[in-house]
């Protein structure tokens, strides 16, 4: 209908506020706005009754619908597990070396393995698997106990020098400080620097070959090439877990060093072990 029945603007009261001669009308709100306001109140009451709302000392009022965010999380975790059940079965049934042939397995294993790695392994081996002194770098091509898929899986399952696991990888280097003279150790230090391509004192290392063959070659190999069976490092290459400078070498020979890694088969599932095996293998150093 026309505005003829309406009040003219001049007839409306103002709020009494004035800025620079500008005054504000005190006009009524539209009524639908009031209804909307009431509707929100009704909604909030219904919400309080239907959902957890009023905080109590332990938790909150449960609400008629029995909703809980924890239960919702559990449901979505369950549904993810259910969705992944099939590919997980496939992952466990596929021989390790064949995983790489199936693109969907590759995706599943490397993505899941990355998550497992960042959760359980990164504390020692670093977020990028680059390791640190005493903690092997898993990106490089130097492996103590072998870097093929089977060796990696074995290592992750049973750990290294892990007390709790009978099948753990085990070896122990003697503390040569107890058998050898200091001068002999110096000879070995220079010999190691020689075979690993670092600068060395030729006079000192000259007679160390026999010394090496007698004391070290049993585990580290005739030429110092290392032995995966013993977890004995390759001494000829450019990589040193505990450092290749003279002090570090001297310390390693005299006092022996060896790291410990827990067995993971009691902590994570076989599928997770497979995933992280594959993940580590595809980081670039896998054999």
């Amino acid at each position: 209908m026309s505005k003829k029945h309406k009040m003219a603007d001049e007839d409306y009261p103002t709020t009494g506020h004035e800025w620079d001669g500008i005054r504000e009308y005190d006009k009524p709100m539209p009524r639908w706005w009031l209804w909307t306001f009431f509707a929100t109140i009704i909604f909030s009451l219904a919400y309080v009754i239907a959902y957890p709302a009023v905080p109590l000392i332990k938790g909150a009022t449960p609400g008629l619908l029995g909703y809980s965010s924890r239960a919702q999380l559990q449901r979505s975790l369950d549904s993810v597990a259910l969705e992944n059940a099939e590919i997980e079965q496939l992952l466990l049934a596929t021989p390790l070396e064949n995983i790489a042939k199936n693109p969907s397995l590759v995706r599943y294993a490397s993505a899941g393995g990355g998550a497992v790695f960042r959760t359980y392994c990164a504390q020692c081996h670093g977020a990028g698997a680059q390791g640190a002194t005493g903690y092997p770098n898993l990106q490089d091509d130097d492996w103590l106990w072998g870097g093929d898929l089977a060796a990696l899986e074995q290592t992750i399952q049973h750990g290294i020098r892990s007390d709790a696991d009978e099948d753990t990888r085990y070896s122990e280097m003697p503390k040569f400080g107890e058998f050898l003279e200091e001068a002999q150790i110096e000879q070995l230090v220079e010999y190691l620097r020689q075979i690993s391509g670092q600068d060395y004192l030729a006079e000192t290392s000259a007679n160390a070959e026999v010394l090496f063959a007698d004391n070290c070659a049993a585990c580290h190999g005739q030429n110092g090439e290392g032995n995966h069976e013993q977890g004995a490092p390759n001494l000829k290459d450019a990589l040193w877990l505990y450092g290749g400078d003279r002090d570090a070498l001297r310390h390693s020979i005299a006092n022996a060093r060896f790291g410990v890694m827990p067995a993971w088969n009691t902590r994570i599932t076989p599928a997770q072990i497979r995933q992280v095996t594959f993940y580590v293998h595809q980081l670039g150093g896998g054999e």
Binding site: G126, Q130, A238
Partner: protein, 469 residues
């Protein structure tokens, strides 16, 4: 308002009963309504053959796969600048139209206006024209009133469902979704969206109508700031119309017939001057022109005018032609910006490649020292194949030294990227200890990615990180 009555805090809506009107603006609005609604409802059903691996719907927003298809154009998420460009064009377009033609968007093209028009048309068909509807509102509840109301609401509801229904077809294959909607197989979100849009269409078009423009929409306020005295608006020539009165009894041309008020969908009186409620739908012009024809006075008592013309018109001179108000510097600048972005987008569309490449070097660690004393870097190479065919790419690098490159998991340097997919490939570059790159903090590397079949190739630049002692 007298001081002894308590102020009214809330006010009921005053019902508006727009009367049927005919004229040139009404005809223009009917054709715009047919065109805009036609585009809206029909577009999802247009088919467009893109080959076996891609959808054959001409316009499709595929949220699940993050693809936007528009006829021959396919937009990937990394090409969002096209959408941003279109949004900027839409913004500038509104500036242009508002500056030149005032609230022309509100009056002719706004969905709120178009659907309200459609709902009013239904209302008139079922309940009759203005007087019949006023009578029906005042009438006591009777079987006839119930029948009329229910059939009107039913008709509105059908339109509303169709409106909400058409929306979801833009997001999935329309024929499949239509089938699934009827068999109950469609996703919950589809039904939810339809329900929401049905409710808003029904309530906004049927009941809220002009209140959406007056109370809810921010655009009238923004527009008020963008119009100037040259912008065209619908106005009443009060110097010609006043003093108004019955024909022959007053000097002005306005015979106070209320035709302009009766047809107004916003429920205002244009003779009170420019008001925030006015959407410049121009129906009052049609109504007034028809009345002026009847009483033998010239048309244009209510007309599209610009504010600057008022002094001349009052003085009895002819106003500037409307095009002269439209053709002014401000509008040319808006148009230039608008068209410039448009041309830029079209050029970008034609020069873009149909595959895209990006490379991210591993940052943690930046490099790996290997047992031979050399250094290895790893990169994440991403190739997006934006065509409907599987494509095979050859990867090579260009560096000053002969660094070795290898792909993870294969000894080849070729990889296949499936149709319409992105592929991540881990790439290694090795620097032997003799190479300077193994000892230099950062050495430039250029990756070349070449489509084996077409020979089309692209490069991306990255760096090789070495170990500085």
């Amino acid at each position: 308002m007298s001081n002894d009555t308590a102020p009214q805090l809330f006010q009921a809506r005053e019902p508006v009963f727009p009367q049927r009107v005919s004229g040139r603006f009404r005809r223009l609005k009917w054709s715009l309504l047919a065109i805009t609604l036609g585009i809206y409802y029909a577009t999802p059903w247009i088919r467009w053959d893109r080959g076996p691996n891609l959808p054959d719907q001409a316009v499709l927003i595929d949220l699940a796969h993050a693809r936007f298809f528009f006829f021959w154009i396919e937009i990937w998420p990394h090409e969002f600048y096209f959408i941003a460009g279109l949004l900027i064009m839409a913004g500038l377009g509104l500036f242009l139209f508002t500056s030149a033609l005032g609230r022309v968007w509100c009056g002719y093209a706004c969905p709120q206006t178009v659907w309200t028009d459609l709902f009013l048309l239904i209302e008139r068909w079922i309940e009759g024209d203005r007087n019949a509807r006023i009578k029906l509102l005042r009438a006591k509840l009777s079987p006839r009133k119930i029948r009329l109301r229910l059939s009107k609401w039913a008709a509105w509801l059908v339109i509303s469902v169709a409106t909400g229904g058409a929306w979801v077809f833009y997001f999935a294959d329309a024929p499949t979704l239509m089938h699934h909607l009827f068999t109950g197989q469609a996703a919950l979100v589809a039904y939810g969206t339809i329900a929401c849009l049905t409710a808003t269409t029904f309530v906004f078009g049927g009941f809220l109508r002009e209140q959406v423009c007056t109370y809810m929409c921010p655009w009238p306020r923004i527009q008020a700031a963008m119009m100037d005295e040259h912008s065209l608006t619908v106005a009443y020539r009060n110097w010609r119309g006043e003093p108004r009165g019955k024909m022959g009894k007053a000097e002005g041309d306005c015979i106070d017939c209320m035709a302009c008020v009766n047809v107004c969908p916003q429920g205002i009186d244009i003779r009170d001057g420019q008001q925030v409620e006015c959407i410049t739908c121009a129906l009052c012009i049609d109504a007034c022109d028809a009345m002026m024809d009847k009483i033998g006075r010239p048309r244009g008592l209510i007309d599209y005018c610009a504010l600057t013309d008022e002094p001349q018109e009052r003085a009895g001179q002819a106003p500037k032609p409307l095009w002269a108000h439209v053709m002014r510097l401000r509008n040319f600048i808006y148009f230039g910006l608008w068209a410039g972005i448009g041309v830029g987008l079209v050029v970008a569309l034609f020069v873009r490649s149909d595959f895209s490449v990006s490379i991210t070097p591993d940052r943690n660690p930046r490099f790996v020292r290997l047992s031979d004393g050399g250094v290895r870097n790893a990169y994440d190479l991403k190739i997006s194949n934006q065509t409907g065919d599987n494509r095979r790419f050859h990867i090579s690098i260009k560096t000053d030294e002969a660094l070795r490159v290898k792909l993870q998991g294969t000894d080849e340097m070729n990889i296949t990227v499936p149709a319409d997919q992105s592929l991540h490939q881990r790439v290694y570059i090795f620097a032997k200890p003799v190479y300077l790159a193994s000892r230099t903090d950062s050495t430039p590397v250029r990756f070349w990615i070449e489509d084996i079949n077409s020979g089309e190739r692209q490069h991306v630049d990255s760096i090789f990180a070495g170990e500085t002692k």
